[in-house]
């Protein structure tokens, strides 16, 4: 029987959750026995060519591109998991939700203390359009499971992944259940 396929993506996150996945150390060997890695920044595969079993989403949605990637993941993953604080509630990037997008851009590109000669807000057509605010992934698509943490520890990710791959409900012991 073919191994289940795993896909991952990093939206408005810091790649910390991916680092935490890699932090499972020698269990990586066990992981590659259990799954085939599909579309993911880890193998740089760019497109889905079939439906995969599990998708891990890191990061919330801060721009149009994040939303497209997330919708693509929903379409192509049987089980979609929000991994980490940013995917679950927007996390640190969502702090901009408290000041508004325009004010944020103006502070960064026009009025900040390190700006010289006026500055300008980047507006190249190749840049993804920023959303009015940063959204948790479950406000954009349906999410099947949530793995809180900033990042979820390697043990947390491993426990959940192993449960899902062996057809069990991921139930975390108390010490692995963290919002920070």
């Amino acid at each position: 029987m073919a191994k289940p396929k795993l896909a991952t993506c990093s939206l408005a996150g810091c790649f910390g959750c991916h680092m935490s996945l890699l932090d499972i150390d020698e269990r990586l060997v066990e992981l590659i026995d259990l799954v085939d890695l599909d579309k993911s920044p880890l193998d740089d595969k760019k497109k889905f060519d079939c439906v995969v079993d599990i998708g891990l989403v890191e990061g919330g949605c801060a721009n149009e591109h994040n939303v497209r990637v997330l919708q693509d993941f929903r379409k192509n993953c049987r089980v979609l998991v929000s991994v980490g604080a940013c995917a679950i509630n927007g996390g640190i990037p969502a702090m901009r939700n408290l000041v508004g997008l325009r004010e944020c851009l103006e502070e960064a590109y026009l009025n900040g203390p390190t700006i010289e000669d006026g500055g300008m807000i980047p507006n190249d057509e190749d840049l993804p359009l920023l959303l009015d605010r940063v959204y948790p992934s479950h406000e954009i698509v349906k999410i099947d499971y949530f793995l809180p943490g900033c990042p979820p520890s390697a043990d947390t990710i491993w426990a959940a992944l192993k449960a899902l791959l062996t057809g069990k409900e991921p139930e975390l012991p108390y010490q692995l259940f963290k919002y920070e």
């Binding site: 604080a85 640190i92 939700n97 499971y145 949530f146 919002y179």
Partner: protein, 244 residues
């Protein structure tokens, strides 16, 4: 059993109580934990947060304000009540700005700990992202209203324990906010030793330069769920043998 003592049951467990005790006080003493947020054992109960709501003889009421009475039948640890409690916690997360990863109270926060205990993996309600003020003018204390859950513990403690009137509420409904009795915090009589500062269940009232003295991982709710210190009282064997 002496005359002023009586019993009632919580989830089928017999609890011994004294006249004048609330349900939550009697349960705490007996080692049965009822989830709560605005209740603090040193303060008058307020019944604000509704987290301790139980079914008392079939009717919902807050266990912190309801006096225990003989023969009461209380339901607390049921899927229905715990589900409602989890939604209350979600509402508090959604209507404030709670960023656990960057909060110095993480691990010691009662709101967060209740989220863990009640199995809140994500807030399923839409976030409101309100505009809230931060006041760091005081040399020893800051107030970050992004994290305020309007439990009124600081208000009650300031009045009854500190003999001050530093804190109060202003506005109503969704506009309710924690107010202070001056324009800025450094113009108030608030001191870092005040009870009003220490009873905050979340990271709203914080003493400066103390936030990271205890590292993440070694904090109050890092290893065991909130309420386990109360539940440990029940497991403890009785002292000595009761003589007739």
């Amino acid at each position: 059993m002496s005359e002023d003592k009586f019993t009632f049951t919580v989830d089928g467990i017999e609890i011994e109580a004294e006249a004048g005790q609330s349900i939550i006080q009697a349960c705490d003493a007996a080692g049965v934990y009822i989830p709560r947020l605005c209740y603090h054992p040193d303060l008058e109960p307020a019944g604000h947060c509704r987290v301790c709501t139980c079914k008392i003889d079939g009717r919902r009421s807050s266990a912190c304000t309801m006096p225990a009475a003989h023969g009461m039948v209380v339901e607390s640890d049921t899927a229905e009540l715990n589900g409602d409690r989890r939604i209350l916690i979600e509402m508090l997360f959604a209507e404030g700005n709670h960023f656990c990863p960057s909060c110095e109270k993480s691990g010691d926060c009662e709101l967060q700990a209740l989220g863990y205990r009640l199995g809140m993996v994500a807030v399923t309600l839409p976030y409101l992202w309100p505009e809230r003020e931060l006041d760091a003018t005081h040399p020893d204390i800051f107030i970050d209203r992004n994290r305020c859950i309007l439990c009124s513990r600081c208000i009650r403690a300031s009045r009854t324990e500190d003999g001050k009137t530093v804190f109060g509420f202003e506005g109503r409904g969704i506009h309710l906010r924690l107010n202070i009795d001056a324009k800025h915090l450094d113009e108030t009589t608030l001191a870092a030793a005040d009870k009003g500062v220490h009873v905050c269940p979340v990271g709203c009232i914080v003493i400066k330069r103390t936030g990271y003295r205890t590292p993440y991982g070694n904090r109050q709710f890092d290893q065991a769920p909130i309420g386990s210190e109360i539940e440990a009282r029940r497991a403890r064997p009785k002292r000595g043998v009761e003589s007739k």
